[in-house]
């Protein structure tokens, strides 16, 4: 296995592991939103500005989970493509070797190997192209998750301001804002790592 193939396997595998962490965190946000909703309900008028924010956080968490679920399916496709590409590349190299050996030994039918060699080269290149295309699409979806994470951080900042007007509920609402902020941060970092791992394979 070449280093190029190895790092491609590792890149694809790392997406799945980073994303499973993102999933956990997105579920945490969803939980924090439910928590915040309960507090805001009890706080009544004092947390009036906070109520629509909790709905928003919840929505955001749901969308993130959905996106990540989709991306995971994509990552599996990428994994299969990588396996496929590895097999096609192995075949191409072995076919070329067989053709060379046959030719240097003066085998009567050496030239009949040209067909399989050409065919293997084309399917290998096909796989490479398809991988690049799919990576570009995946990067687009990862960008959407990043966007959500950035939005969550803005909401967290707003939540803090609203929490400051919630009297005795200040502390619990601030804790909600903080956990959303922290979670958004984690998502951002993980997704960023996925993007870096994949960006070298992007369609240029």
């Amino acid at each position: 296995m070449t280093n190029q193939t190895k790092s491609q396997f590792i890149a694809v595998a790392s997406i799945t592991s980073e994303l499973s962490a993102v999933m956990v965190v997105a579920k945490e946000i969803s939980l924090a939103a439910a928590n915040a909703k309960a507090i805001a309900f009890r706080a009544g008028d004092k947390a009036k500005g906070f109520q629509p924010i909790t709905d928003f956080i919840n929505e955001l968490a749901k969308e993130t989970i959905e996106l990540v679920t989709n991306i995971n399916i994509y990552a599996l496709v990428l994994y299969r493509l990588t396996v496929n590409e590895f097999q096609k590349t192995t075949a191409y190299n072995k076919f070329e070797l067989a053709a060379k050996m046959a030719e240097s030994d003066g085998a009567v039918y050496a030239n009949t190997m040209q067909g399989p060699v050409d065919h293997a080269r084309l399917s290998m290149q096909d796989c490479q192209r398809q991988f690049k295309r799919d990576v570009s699409q995946l990067l687009g979806q990862l960008e959407a998750v990043m966007h959500h994470a950035r939005a969550a951080r803005v909401i967290a900042a707003n939540s803090r301001i609203e929490a400051s007007q919630a009297g005795e509920y200040l502390q619990s609402l601030q804790a909600v804002a903080e956990s959303v902020d922290k979670a958004a941060h984690t998502i951002h970092d993980n997704v960023q790592r996925c993007r870096i791992a994949l960006s070298i394979y992007r369609n240029s």
Binding site: Q87, K88, T90, A91, K94, F95, L97, A98, A99, M101, A102, D105, A107, V108, Y109, A110, T112, M113, G115, P116, H119, A120, S123
Partner: protein
Amino acid sequence: MKTTKIYEGTHQWIMFGRDEGKPSNIIDTNQYVVRTANRCLLLDPGGAELFAPMMAAVLHHAPVDQITDLFASHQDPDVISSLGLWDQALTNARLHAPAIWEGFLRHYSCESIEYVPIPDNGGTIKLESVELQIIPAHYLHSSGNFHVYDPQAKILMSGDVGAAFEAPDSPVFVDNFAVHVEKMRHWHQRMMPSNQAKRVWIERVRNLDIDILAPQHGRMFRGDDVKRFLDWFDALQVGIAV
């Protein structure tokens, strides 16, 4: 790859083996090819490592598109782990292999090659006017195992039965049976699990007219050495590991 023609008639049998380029840590194997005017059958085509030298060797005898049939005596990697590569190289080929191993052998990838499952009682492979018999050899050593007999050439390709392990440059035929026995004993005692299966197989094979017994490892037996081998194997206790 060393090439030896072992039968020349209306069709040919060619033995390939003793590959000099083979990594020393993988087992040495013999591959056999049956060549008719327009078709070519590879018997136990070998491991993935062996694909390129084997293909190059076959190209001395047939163009790629005339390699139409493969046979796998059983599911072992030294027999057929090259399947995924043949599958990509051959556009018009069939693999004759034990029915019970189909789901296993497909792990090697078998998409363009047609899997022709051999039922437990064996069958035939027709190669133009040549008809080869598929002889059951279950539990010798694999639980789904076949040998190929050519009544015209009087050759029995016997898979792992008759196998021996020795120096890479050793001759392809047994020349001193008494000496050769010691190179086979442990393999047969340890690899072959069933005395009963062995007895049934020997009975079946004694009824065949055999000039050459051609195993997948080591040397071929010819003439009286075939009978010597059957007698020796008959008397041997196998399945010794339990």
